[in-house]
Amino acid sequence: MHIKLSINGEKREADVEPRLLLVHLIREVLKLTGTHIGCDTTHCGACTVLLDGRAVKSCTLFAVQARDREIMTVEGLEQNGKLHPLQEGFMAEHGLQCGYCTPGMLMTSFAFLQKHPTPSEDDIRHAISGNLCRCTGYVNIVKSVQHAAAKLQEGRA
């Protein structure tokens, strides 16, 4: 099946089998390997991308379902060579150790902060509850998201 979609603002086309999962389209066909495959069973959230602005697990969606839709992956966060405040936050607050969960954490947090610009710690913890991290214990991830939220607020002020 021939599909067209937008990924990080760029129009792309591909011929796909219906059974091809979105994460495989992103990684293996479009060669954007920032999106990770972790558990491959809808638990860990390492494969999180945005589908029309909503954070979803790309291992649990067929590529054909993304036709004519807008996908955003971790590669879309950096703009004009400048890291997104979330990426800066994860660096500043040591929000990653092995880094495997990070692309998913970033995308979930990105969608979350769009809707909740001034979240409480509890809000953040609930928001990332579908993304598993086995290194950090989440403390620094929460701090990283808080860092980004504050930076984004400054930008708006």
Partner: protein, 291 residues
């Protein structure tokens, strides 16, 4: 993990979808949110030859009140329920439920219709809908029909839907004055199925007795369970602490859990007792005007 090959169909109307289901027969499955079906296909526990994707049918997604009912379109996402001011302010039992289904990412795709039609006894909406006295609308080749939720779950992963039917709507009676509900779930971690969960709905009468009672149980039997004996013991009674304890025990007696990694039969039955009391107390508090 790669699912087995299938043919993909993307109808743009309900009529087109049901015609496809009728034509393709037993080898076809409806793809709604896909958050249960796709994992099953990846594990090759489900191998449909055809998928009929209903995600391109916009008229299946809505939340509105009309003719005395709250009406939720089958394709409505759990996240839409969570974000709905109508649900938040008037249907606390549903709001409780949609916040504890799977995790926030899954809820962005998972649908209310799928949660019911998949008929996994571990799913959360079935107990909530049993407690609320819901009714589902099925659309098929012969038109539409309404099915009371009590007749909908016919077995584990089995429903009253015919092969060519799609669950297009679930309708819940609009809340009367002094009504309240709650859903209380015990889970080991976010995203796990319930060890046990209980939905409770009550309507208080003017004399302080319970005029209507609904109690539904999640993941403690081969189908979702309506705890009718427990409901009967509370209906017409004053909901004092002694009564709540007795009703909670009757709900535990109605459960038929099996032992697994989440606990023994005895433990799960006792959790049903504890959770029923908690759900009832919260429902009563809300019926009295609390949050």
């Amino acid at each position: 993990m790669i699912p087995a090959a299938f043919d993909y169909h993307a109808p743009s109307s309900i009529g087109e979808a049901t015609a496809l289901l009728a034509q393709l027969g037993e080898d076809a499955k409806v793809l709604s949110g896909g958050q249960s079906l796709i994992p099953l296909m990846k594990l090759r526990l489900a191998n449909p030859r055809h998928l009929v994707d209903i995600n391109g049918i916009p008229e299946l997604s809505y939340i509105r009140e009309s003719d005395g009912f709250l009406r939720i379109g089958g394709l409505t996402r759990e996240a839409d329920l969570d974000e709905s001011e109508l649900i938040r302010s008037r249907y606390p039992l549903l709001h409780d439920t949609c916040k504890v289904i799977a995790d926030p990412l899954v809820r962005n795709l998972a649908t209310v219709g799928g949660n019911l039609a998949h008929a996994d006894p571990a799913n959360d909406h079935p107990a909530a809908m049993l407690a609320l006295g819901a009714e589902v609308t099925a659309a098929g080749g012969k038109g539409r029909r309404r099915i009371p939720i009590t007749a909908f779950f016919t077995g584990p992963f089995e429903t009253a839907l015919a092969q060519d039917e799609i669950l297009v709507e679930v309708a819940i009676p609009m809340p009367s004055a002094r009504s309240g509900g709650a859903y209380v779930k015990l889970e080991r971690k976010v995203g796990d199925f319930a060890t046990a969960a209980v939905a409770a709905h009550v309507v208080l009468g003017t004399s302080g007795t319970c005029d209507q009672v609904g109690i539904g149980l999640t993941n403690v039997g081969i189908t979702p369970i309506k705890a009718t004996a427990a409901e009967g013991a509370l209906k017409g009674a004053r909901p004092d602490e002694a009564t709540i304890k007795r009703v909670a025990q009757l709900a535990a007696d109605a459960s038929q859990p099996s032992a697994d990694l989440r606990g023994s039969v005895e433990y799960k039955k006792d959790m049903v007792r504890v959770l029923t009391a908690r759900a009832l107390r919260k429902a009563l508090e809300r019926a009295g005007g609390g949050r």
